[in-house]
Amino acid sequence: MNPPRLELHVPTPFARPGEKASFKHLEIAQAGIVRRPEIACAEAEMRDLPYALIRVLDDDGNAVGPWDPSLNADHLRRGLRAMMLTRAFDERLFQAHRQGKTSFYMKSTGEEAIGAAPSLALAQGDMCFPTYRVMSWLHARGYPLVSMVNQIFSNEKDPLKGRQMPILFSARDYGFYSLSGNVGSRFGHAVGWAMASAYKNDDKIALAYIGEGATAEGDFHEALTFASVYRAPCILCVTNNQWAISSFSGIAGAEMTTFAAKALAYGLPGLRVDGNDFLAVTAATQWAAERARTNRGATLIEFFTYRACGHSTSDDPTKYRPADEAEHWPLGDPIARLKQHLILIGEWSEDQDQALANELHETVRAAVKEAEAVGTHGKSKPNVREMFEGVFKDPDWRVTEQRRELEI
């Protein structure tokens, strides 16, 4: 008998444009059934968790099971507001790109809980090492909307002085580290920052995000190695939104395992969490934060979610996935689910929701208008001298001479 011929396997998603969208291959367990280990639990005792899916909100909006973080209604409403603000802001700024007011924009649609919940769960002084699509972290902490729009318009009042693309913020006072367009390259900074906090016997921890696609970068594995070796007080989060531009998560390895399970080889706890469930995201963050603050080291969390919009203003997702795929996502929408829960527990109403939506719409509109008065992309920009500032702490002769050459 001849041995079989070798075959090269190239993963392909379940549906392409024109085909019927389906997530039937995903096993979505019911909410509330995953156990919540004690904070002191050894990693070896929880190696089942990376393959489970921690969910708190059930289909009816009840908070169920041991991971229910028992948040008070004010906290929940703050979360809802941050997520709704993020979405209202996204809609408005995406539209602004269509109108030529900015060079670029990225929405977080469907992923608003992943930035907002940790932002509200962690302390002032902790540091977030963001990816794009976690602007809800800033919205949850009240970052001034006008400054944000000024950055996106790259205008005269851009807080980053026109040196960085739209949405690649830096906001130290809001615990938001400088974001950049290289995916993954700040994951290890979070670990180093956390090591420094431990070195100084401080009480601050770091939280970093990386996309599931970027887990294939060496940075991810280097960061996990360092986090494990030095028990760095940090929370390392993989936002698995199923799509890295046009590549489905199978291209990043999702056919064979979960992203949370990457933790196993490093001896770190790995949690796989419903990323569209504000309560579950909060609970997992709190659990990992408590471990980090008590010298139990890092936790890897996979936030299982869905990128309900295109990658960016430069992307058209209907070219590579069914146009209606988002509607089939089995874990729903984070805003709708938290709203449902708040109404169910008698802490929110449709009227309040509508009023808040109107208020946020107005708030965003006013902020955009104020920024427009300063100027939109290409109509206004920071003083060109800013181009030469901040290269080094003190400029060297190259900067001085070249500025003179440009006659400024």
């Binding site: 960085q164 290289n182 090591m195 420094a196 070195y199 190695t225 360092f226 060297d396």
Partner: protein, 337 residues
């Protein structure tokens, strides 16, 4: 005053900074208990404690990423990359992160890190223990690159690098760690003993980054060099019997262009010497600067002596390494032009 070789001088700089500033710490592959493969961190763990001088995984990207994160927190980390040949896995961290953090965040975050790395040839290290990658760092806006040529400078430059608020790469010419080497490989090894630059004072002192040193004053030709090549240059100048002015750049970024220009305007000739391969090497930038700023004073074309444009070849170490004989030829070329 103590006589030290370069290893001892670098060790002494680290020792004194660790003692003086609790925010300084150092780490790298084999750096901790063992004290580094070249012994630069010898006994620092024993003296200053486990968390201040420690071993890292074999992960250059991870080492620099951790250093950048520590710097953003407020520490002054000194990372060792065991050989400069192994720095490339960390290249993205240096280029895309350390070099740009201050600029892109409008000064909210910066990267006060020092990256030490033994570099250069002359030790039969083949392709993976001999390279001189300074030009690729010099090209990256936002990085500083420092290359000492003797024990006294090594201490003063390393202290200045650690205290600098921007990322500094300190390339340590490993061939001259234990003694000056003039490229005459068939002669007996020299140690630093008795060399005036091996007298290293105790206590913190700084050599400002961007300040070249005129090692030898002269009137006929300017020779630009750094690292091991400073010693090769001295030998070549002596052999050629020309009245050359030798400038040790000490740091290539920031570059002391004023000292270079003043010298070439005086001598009217310039020869550039470096170990790294010639095409796209830092000598190209130096040559362009001299041409742009000293054209009317030049009596001969700027000449470059450098490693050949091949990978660093193991068995051909001395055919590749730009020794004094090649400098002599270049000096004669510019003098006879």
């Amino acid at each position: 005053m103590a006589m030290m070789n370069m290893i001892q001088a670098l060790n002494n700089a680290l020792d004194e900074k660790l003692a003086q500033d609790p925010d300084v710490l150092t780490f790298g592959e084999d750096v901790g208990y063992f004290g580094g493969v070249f012994r630069v961190t010898d006994k620092l763990q024993e003296k200053h404690g486990l968390t201040r001088c420690f071993d890292t995984p074999i992960s250059e990207g991870g080492i620099i990423a951790a250093a950048i994160g520590m710097g953003a927190y407020g520490l002054r980390p000194v990372a060792e990359i065991q050989f400069a040949d192994y720095i490339l896995p960390a290249f993205d961290q240096l280029v895309s992160e350390a070099a740009r953090l201050r600029y892109r965040s409008n000064g909210e975050f910066w990267s006060p890190i020092t990256v030490r790395s033994p570099y250069g040839g002359g030790i039969f290290g083949g392709q993976t223990h001999s390279q001189s990658p300074e030009a690729i760092f010099a090209h990256i806006t936002g990085l500083k690159t420092v290359i000492p040529s003797n024990p006294y400078d090594a201490k003063g430059l390393l202290i200045a690098a650690i205290e600098d608020d921007d990322p500094v790469i300190v390339l340590e010419p490993k061939r001259i760690y234990n003694g000056p080497f003039d490229g005459r490989h068939d002669q007996a090894l020299k140690t630093w003993a008795g060399h005036p630059k091996a007298e290293v004072p105790a206590g913190l002192y700084r050599i400002p980054l961007g300040q070249a040193e005129i090692v030898r004053a002269g009137r006929e030709v300017t020779v630009l060099a750094y690292g091991t090549m400073v010693h090769v240059a001295l030998a070549g100048i002596e052999e050629a019997e020309v009245d050359a002015e030798l400038i040790d750049l000490r740091s290539i970024v920031p570059l002391d262009v004023d000292t270079i220009v003043a010298s070439v305007r005086k001598t009217g000739r310039c020869v550039i010497l470096h170990e790294a391969s010639r095409f796209g090497g830092f000598g190209g930038e130096l040559s362009a600067l001299v041409q742009e700023r000293c054209f009317d004073h030049l009596k001969a074309p700027v000449d470059r002596v450098a490693g050949w444009d091949t990978p660093y070849p193991h068995a051909f170490e001395w055919d590749y390494f730009p020794g004094p004989a090649r400098l002599v030829k270049a000096l004669r070329r510019v003098m006879e032009y």
